[in-house]
Every structure is written in structure tokens, then in C-alpha cells.
């Protein structure tokens, strides 16, 4: 019996070894990516999530795209040359952009690309403007408006006329007319929402008919009823072969692609929710790449036959202070008074309180313990990788200083009476939970009268509640729409920015600088503006910058060709670049 057990053990070890050994390349013509993002739609005018963008960027092409790993340099795709001030493609006043359209490009269903297709695609991308969609980006740049509808859902008068006039075709050229200079415009043109579709095909599939007088009919279709929700016809190196929603998406190579046939002939993106299942697929070679969440990075790095890329994302998470909390039925502020059992609604309006919390955040320990130092600790919202980034001072971890500021806060009453409040974070996000716990514990350690509870709230509820000014502190992140400081600094600091607004933060100098930055095309002037804004972020102690995430991509070592780009999030995979050997 002992001998039998011995040989069984040997057999098991050999089996294990065989399982782990780098056997020949599995599925040599096929790239398999196991992930858990779901595709909502294939309509470029509507898709506004990274998973859908991945599909679109492989099927369709915009005029330009990011050049290699650069977020602020572009290469021509459906244009023959990237317009610049130097080559005259961008006018000196920054309001006119001219693109020469590439000839001889065919759509997958046979139509030939023309300048008219480009004009149609751009206009349609703004006319559709579905709630929650990406149309606001081209609308802001090309019409100066953020939406085709007002807050009551009525069409903004004259908006479609503005759309009609902002882009035109002249022969093989497409000319954009901006109402004012908009530096991030090129980044917007690289986004999947700016994908070029065939006008003929689109109209035949019940899209806008090209007549601006009928635009309202095609505006804001109900979710799922956008005409291109599940069909696709692009010019890129891959076609959609099949799509089983929330199960798998299959790409097939476009052998007639103008840029040359791709090396990978088939790509399958599989929806696999469970991490263990994804890990085993990667191990066995049944997946060439899988999505790896941060907590699983250490165990993946122990696996053999893989290669890894650490890619900083253009994103930032911060802990925001609400300076005017909504007291109506709000359990997070206790009594609503500075009496030891609550906080007043303007608790964080006092800069001393904010500075105290900033000094209570131990950046080094956080980076080490939560991220194993696989993170960038930002100093301001203009994160590394964005133009005009600079490292500004941070509030070093110092509980003595925290105590000093709290003793000064609200005329000394905070220290004398104590307070009670809640810090919330979204459920399941361990990074944010750790940050909240750290600040809570450190502040409470200063004075037994300080009571802070950390609570988790489901993500959808979180999205709603912080927008009702219900949370004294809310922890949330922002991913880049385009690689420009405006997308972050306006969002985090302007009184009408997505987060600035819900902090009830108002600073006229900040607002003026944000508006000045976006209206200027001179890089030197923009640099001055954005450097000053980053300084103000520190001086005003607006919020606690928590982390800029680095994601780890894990591939089987037989996959080659991936180029990291901070604008292309983890869900993204540019198949054209890949090979398998």
C-alpha cells in the first residue's frame, strides 16, 4: 500500500508538471481574452464604457489614434496626416482643423470610405446624444454646448444647426470649425465615439438619414434601441463575427485591411466572472490573457510561462470633503451639530478640518500595505501621464499637525466637544475601504471624543447619494475621457465640475483658471495656468488624493506586440498589434 501511494504521488507530480509545462502554443491563430466587462452596445455614438470601446476600436477606425504609448501624440488612421500648426492642418487661431481622408479604404461590407462618411459620422455622433453617452465630448468641442437637451429634456434651440455647420466635406478633405479653441479636440477625435461609419450602410439600417431637419427624430433613442446596437461595419483589421452578450465576442480578421492583414486570425473575448476560473484558463493556455484584479497580482506573478506589464492608468481616486452637507434625513452627520454627537453641515468648510484629515493619511503605509507599492501616489488630480503634470507638495502624514489643526478648527469647538460622522465608500472596493479606515482610525486616535464610522454602500446607491450632498466625505475616482488636464482639473476643482460641484467647493480664482486653461492653445500659457491650479489644489486642501492605479496585465509568454498606453484601460486590447508564437 505504501509503495502504491508513492507511485500515485509521483504520477500526480508528473501530471502537475505536465500541466504547468509550456506545451506548444495552444490555438495558434486565435487570441483568447477572459475578462468580466460586458458590452452594452456597438453603436459608436452611444458606447461610453471601456469594454464597448475595445470592440469598437478594433472594428472601426477614427481619423487618428494614439501613437504607440503616447497619450498626447497621434498617428494617422483614416486621415493621411495628423494636422498640426506646423503643417497648417490646424489654423493659427486653433479653430479650424483640416483632415485629408485616406483613399481606397473599404468598409467590411464593401462600401468605400469618403469624406462624406466622416462628416456624417461626426454629426451623427452628436445628434444621437443618448443619456449617459459620450456625445457631450464632441458637442462641447464643436458647438460649445454639453448636450443637445436642457435639464428638462427639451432640445436646445438651434443645436442641430450648430452641429450641421461645425464640420463639412470638401472633396477629399474634412474640415472642422470650432467655436473656440479646444486643445483636447484631437484626443476626442481618437476616442471610439469618433469612429467612422458608412453613411450608406447606416441610413440603410435606420440611422439618421443625413437631413439635419430630421435630427430630432434620432435624438436620444431608448437604451437598447439605438440602430447600431448589435451590428457593426467598420474599416479596421477585424470584423465582428459573432456576439453573444455577456458570454463571448468573436472577432475575425479582415484580410483586406488597408494596413495589411493582421497576424491573429480570430480573437475571442470571453466573459468569465470568477477569478479562479480565469486563472486556471490562463494556466492551462485556454486563455492568452485574463483580467487580473489588484488583489490577485501576487498569486499571478508566481505563475510560470507568463509575461507582465505594469500600466499606470490615467485615473485618480480621491477622498472628497463636502463643504455643504445636506442635512435632510442624513444619518451620516449624526445630530447635525458640533455637540459631540454629530457634525454641522459646514464641518469641512473649515480648512483646518480638511488639513487635519490630510495629515492623517499615511501615504507611504497605504502604498506599501494596500498596493505592495504597485501604485502611483498622486499629489494632484493632474496625474502623471497628463500634460503639464508637476509634483506639488503633499500634506505629510503627521498626527501632531492633525491635532493642531483640529484644535484650531471651528474656533476650538471641534476639539472641545468632539464629533461623530460617517465616511462612506462603495462596497467591494478594498482600496477605498482601507483609505477610509486609515483616516478614521488616525483621527480617532487623537481624541476619544472623535467618533468616525466607516460604512460601505453599493455602487449604484453611491453614485446617487454623493450627488445629493449626503456624504460628509466621499471616496470616488475618475478615469480620463481624453488626455488633457482640463478633463481632471475642471472635474475636481471647478465649482461646476463633476466633483467640484458636489463638494460645494467654490473658488473664483480656480474657476477662472479652469476656464482659461481650456480656452488657450498656447502650451506655455496653458502650462502656467495648470501649474497654478495644481498649486491651488495643495494650498486649498481641497481633497485627499488617494491613488493613481497601476494595472497589471498578464499574458501567456507566446503573445507578443502589446504596447502599454495609459489612455487604453485594462479592458482594452488592440488586436492588430498582437502575434502569437
Amino acid at each position: 500500500m505504501g509503495r502504491l501511494k508513492f507511485w500515485l504521488a509521483i504520477g500526480l507530480i508528473i501530471g502537475l508538471a505536465a500541466g504547468m509545462a509550456n506545451a506548444e502554443v495552444k490555438n495558434p491563430d486565435t487570441f483568447i481574452f477572459a475578462t468580466y466587462g460586458t458590452v452594452r452596445t456597438l453603436d459608436p455614438a452611444v458606447a461610453y464604457d471601456t469594454t464597448s470601446s475595445q470592440r469598437l476600436w478594433n472594428i472601426y477606425e477614427p481619423l487618428i489614434f494614439f501613437d504607440g504609448g503616447h497619450t498626447d501624440k497621434f498617428k494617422p488612421l483614416l486621415t493621411t496626416e495628423v494636422p498640426t500648426l506646423e503643417n497648417g492642418g490646424i489654423s493659427a487661431d486653433g479653430k479650424t482643423y483640416t483632415f485629408n481622408i485616406r483613399k481606397g479604404v473599404k468598409f467590411h461590407e464593401g462600401q468605400t470610405l469618403t469624406a462624406e462618411d466622416v462628416v456624417y459620422s461626426i454629426k451623427r455622433g452628436m445628434i444621437v446624444d443618448q443619456d449617459g453617452g459620450p456625445s457631450w465630448m464632441p458637442l462641447e468641442a464643436l458647438t460649445g454646448e454639453g448636450s443637445t437637451r436642457d435639464k428638462d429634456g427639451n432640445i436646445v434651440p438651434g443645436i442641430f444647426e450648430k452641429i450641421d455647420k461645425c464640420v463639412e466635406a470638401k472633396g477629399d478633405q474634412v474640415i472642422f470649425h470650432l467655436p473656440k479653441p479646444f486643445p483636447p479636440f484631437m484626443g476626442i477625435l481618437a476616442y471610439s465615439a469618433s469612429s467612422i461609419i458608412s453613411k450608406e450602410w447606416a441610413v440603410a439600417n435606420n440611422c439618421w438619414d443625413g437631413n439635419i431637419a430630421n435630427a430630432a427624430k434620432y435624438n436620444n433613442p431608448p437604451m437598447g434601441q439605438e440602430p447600431l446596437q448589435k451590428i457593426a461595419n467598420g474599416t479596421n483589421a477585424y470584423k465582428m463575427k459573432s456576439w453573444e452578450p455577456s458570454k463571448e465576442f468573436v472577432f475575425a480578421a479582415n484580410e483586406a485591411y488597408w494596413g495589411g492583414a493582421p497576424k491573429i486570425k480570430t480573437a475571442i473575448i470571453k466573459y468569465v466572472k470568477e477569478w479562479s476560473t480565469r486563472k486556471l484558463m490562463l494556466q492551462n493556455g485556454d486563455a492568452d490573457r485574463v483580467t487580473v484584479d489588484n488583489p490577485y497580482v501576487p498569486e499571478v506573478k508566481e505563475m510560470k510561462n507568463l509575461k507582465f506589464y505594469e500600466v499606470p492608468q490615467l485615473s485618480m481616486t480621491a477622498a472628497f470633503f463636502c463643504q455643504k452637507i445636506n442635512p435632510d434625513g442624513n444619518p451620516d452627520i449624526g445630530s447635525g451639530k458640533l455637540d459631540g454627537n454629530g457634525i454641522p453641515t459646514d464641518f469641512f468648510a473649515d480648512v483646518n478640518v480638511r488639513k487635519a484629515f490630510l495629515h492623517a493619511f499615511d501615504r507611504d503605509t497605504y502604498a506599501n500595505d494596500v498596493f505592495n507599492n504597485l501604485v502611483v501616489m498622486p499629489s494632484s488630480p493632474n496625474v502623471k501621464g497628463l500634460p503639464y503634470h508637476k509634483d506639488v507638495p503633499v500634506y505629510a502624514f503627521d498626527l501632531t499637525k492633525s491635532a493642531e489643526y483640529l484644535k484650531k478648527a471651528h474656533g476650538g469647538k471641534v476639539w472641545e466637544k468632539g464629533f461623530k460622522m460617517v465616511i462612506t465608500h462603495n462596497t467591494g472596493n478594498e482600496m477605498r475601504e482601507a483609505a477610509a479606515m486609515m483616516m478614521a482610525e488616525n483621527i480617532m486616535s487623537l481624541n476619544p471624543k472623535f467618533k468616525i464610522e466607516v460604512r460601505n454602500v453599493e455602487w449604484k446607491d453611491y453614485l446617487v447619494k454623493y450627488r445629493s450632498y449626503m456624504y460628509p466625505m466621499f471616496l470616488i475616482g475618475w478615469g480620463a475621457d481624453y488626455a488633457d488636464p482640463h478633463n481632471f482639473l475642471y472635474t475636481f476643482m471647478h465649482s461646476k465640475g463633476v466633483y467640484g460641484r458636489y463638494m460645494a467647493y467654490q473658488n473664483d480664482e480656480v474657476d477662472k483658471l479652469c476656464e482659461e486653461g481650456i480656452a488657450n492653445v498656447d502650451p506655455a500659457k496653458r502650462e502656467k495656468v495648470y501649474h497654478r491650479l495644481q498649486d491651488l489644489w495643495y494650498e486649498e486642501a481641497i481633497a485627499v488624493p488617494l491613488y493613481q492605479q497601476i494595472v497589471v496585465r498578464a499574458y501567456r509568454d507566446w503573445i507578443h506586440g502589446y504596447t502599454p498606453n495609459a489612455m487604453l484601460m485594462d479592458a482594452n486590447e488592440m488586436l492588430m498589434n498582437l502575434s502569437k508564437q
Binding site: L12, G15, L16, G19, N27, I32, T38, V39, R40, T41, Y48, D49, D131, G132, G133, R149, K151, D152, G153, N220, P222, M223, G224, Q229, K230, K241, S242, P245, S246, K247, E248, V250, T266, I268, K270, Y271, V272, K273, E274, S276, T277, L280, M281, Q283, N284, D286, E458, K460, D461, L463, V464, R467, S468, I476, G477, W478, G479, D481, V498, Y499
Partner: protein, 343 residues
């Protein structure tokens, strides 16, 4: 009997009405903002929440929203599934066959194995056979399904690579995609469709992918059936008629299997019926771990994302399933025990 059946189905309308009102009412306790947030995924999109509320009338009174929903359902429009990115009705008929296929094979095994083990265990009470089956039952019932599924996957896929997750191999999936004219989806059950299309390789491959999920489900669930059967057998064997039959010289086999087992079946039928009904909701753990996108997986995703139309659809479906199951059980009772009359 036909009148009885018709009357039971008539009451189905009231059951479904009650279930839908109850669930709708519960979902209405979520604020309009919360329900609108189901349509957004990023902070960038959140600015459109007020517009979404207005567009879908999410702040209308309960009865207006309910009537609107009933009107749409009566037109066959169950709504749009955010999780599935397609109409709820269409998504249901894609996901339900996956769950049904597993239950088609697992349910008979659970029932037959449970009855057999319970009978054997009850007859050989307090012997090593009884103790073994009881230990097996306790371990099986106590095992967290999720954990057990992961262990099986790690061993039989991760190490031995004998089985793999999913419903079909990539090669056969690509064949079906590439040759839609050569493979018709008659039922959605790949083991059945494979045979109907004359593709035994597809049927066998699909069954190959069912082995681990069925094994997981059976081991965890059979324990309950087994325990109930065992209790029933023990109770029957202690009754006077058994002693009388033995005294009269009837052989043990006839007593145990023809008389005692049959009399002990009623509670087992009840439990088995409820298990089968509940299984139509899908086993979330099994479907997630083995990457089989059935009703269980869909329900779990929809619940976490508050995909309301899906939740309403599945609740209505389960209402229908339980009414049909209970009716079937009542008919079976009458068959098993002739003293029971349907009226």
C-alpha cells in the same frame, strides 16, 4: 382531474398578480435615483440621472408605473436587460436552456440516487452502510457549493485537464458560428440539439462540459432527499403492517422495496419537487464557477445591478414554476397513494 387542473391554473393568474405586485412594491422602495443609476456605470454618466428619471417616469406613483409595466408585458415586452444587453424575453430563452439542460440530467440523478441511498440507509440502519451514507450526506449538505465547485475545477481542470469550464469547446463553438446553416438551435440544449443536428460530437462535448457541474450539484443536493427517504423508511419499517407481513413470511425484498418504500415516498416526492422547482432558478455558484450563463448567473448579475425588468421576469417565471410543480406533486400524490383524491 381535468377540471381540477384547469382550476389550479386559473389560480395561477392570482398568484402571478400577487407576486408581481409584491416584487414591484419592494423595488419601488428604491428611490427613483437609485433605479435610474442602473443605467449608468461611471461618474461621467451620472450627470444624466435626472434625465433618465424623467424619461422613464421613475418618479411616477407606484400604480402608474405598475400599470405601465403590465401594459408592456401584455404586449410581450418584458423590457430591456442591462446585463444581457438585449430584450428580457430574448435573453430568457438564451439563458434558460443552459439551466434546464443541467437540471435535466442532475434532477433525475438527485431523485433516484437520493431514494436509493435513503432506502439502503434506512433498511441497514446503524450499520456501516448507514453511517457511511449519513456522513456522505452531512458532508455534501454542509459543503459550500461555491467552494466545492472551485475544488473540483482546480483538480479536474487545473491539474488533470480532464474537463473544462463553459458549455462547449472553442473549436466546436467556432464551427457553429462559422457554419450556422449546419447547426440549428432547436431547443438551446446542446446535448439535444447536437443529436437533432446529427452532430454527436457536439452532443458529447456538451455533455463532457456538464460532468463537473452535475457532480457538484448532485453531491451537494442529494443529501436532503436521502435524509428524508431514510427517515421515511425507518418510520415505515416500524409500523405494524410490516411486522405482520414479516410474520406471514413475506420476503424482505418485497416488504422493503414494494411496500415500505412506496409508503415512504410522499415526503420525498414533496422535497424532490421543491428541489426541482428551485433548481429552475439555476445554481448561482455552479453557473458562475463553471462559466455557464444560465438563469442563476443572470439572476445574480441582475440583482447586484438592480436590473429590474429581469428580476420581475424571473419572479414571474418562478411563480409559474412553483404553481406547475405543486400541481404536478398533487397529481403524483394521488398516483402514489390511492387514498388521496383530487377535488
Amino acid at each position: 382531474m381535468p377540471t381540477y387542473i384547469l382550476r389550479r391554473f386559473f389560480f395561477l393568474i392570482f398568484v402571478l398578480f400577487g407576486v408581481s405586485v409584491l416584487l414591484f412594491g419592494i423595488l419601488m422602495t428604491f428611490s427613483p435615483e437609485r433605479r435610474a443609476a442602473a443605467y449608468v456605470t461611471t461618474p461621467q454618466q451620472a450627470k444624466d440621472i435626472p434625465k433618465i428619471i424623467k424619461k422613464f417616469g421613475l418618479d411616477d406613483p407606484f400604480y402608474i408605473q405598475y400599470v405601465r409595466w403590465i401594459k408592456e408585458v401584455s404586449r410581450g415586452n418584458m423590457g430591456w436587460s442591462l446585463v444581457a444587453s438585449r430584450p428580457v424575453g430574448e435573453a430568457f430563452w438564451r439563458y434558460f436552456p443552459i439551466t434546464l439542460e443541467m437540471n435535466l440530467y442532475a434532477a433525475p440523478i438527485v431523485i433516484i440516487l437520493g431514494i436509493w441511498l435513503g432506502t439502503v440507509s434506512g433498511i441497514h440502519r446503524d450499520t456501516w452502510l448507514d453511517h457511511s451514507t449519513r456522513i456522505f450526506a452531512i458532508i455534501g449538505w454542509s459543503l459550500p457549493t461555491f467552494l466545492f465547485a472551485l475544488v473540483l475545477l482546480m483538480v479536474f481542470y487545473g491539474y488533470f485537464q480532464w474537463f473544462s469550464p463553459g458549455v462547449l469547446s472553442d473549436q466546436l463553438t467556432m464551427f457553429i458560428i462559422d457554419n450556422p446553416e449546419q447547426f440549428t438551435r432547436y431547443t438551446g440544449l446542446l446535448t439535444v440539439d447536437g443529436i437533432l443536428n446529427g452532430r454527436l460530437d457536439v452532443a458529447l462535448d456538451a455533455f463532457h462540459h456538464l460532468v463537473l457541474p452535475i457532480l457538484t450539484y448532485v453531491i451537494v443536493v442529494v443529501a436532503l432527499n436521502m435524509r428524508v427517504m431514510r427517515s421515511g423508511i425507518i418510520e415505515e419499517l416500524s409500523k405494524d403492517y410490516v411486522m405482520t407481513a414479516m410474520a406471514k413470511g413475506a420476503d424482505k425484498r418485497t416488504i422493503h422495496y414494494k411496500h415500505a418504500r412506496r409508503n415512504a415516498l410522499l415526503p420525498v416526492v414533496t422535497v424532490a419537487g421543491q428541489l426541482v422547482a428551485m433548481s429552475m432558478e439555476g445554481s448561482i455558484a455552479v453557473e458562475v464557477v463553471y462559466n455557464r450563463h444560465g438563469i442563476g448567473w443572470w439572476l445574480a448579475e441582475s440583482a447586484t445591478q438592480l436590473d429590474m425588468p429581469v428580476l420581475m421576469c424571473i419572479c414571474l417565471f418562478m411563480g409559474l414554476v412553483f404553481v406547475a410543480t405543486n400541481l404536478t406533486l398533487d397529481i403524483l400524490y394521488a398516483y402514489i397513494d390511492p387514498r388521496i383524491r383530487l377535488n
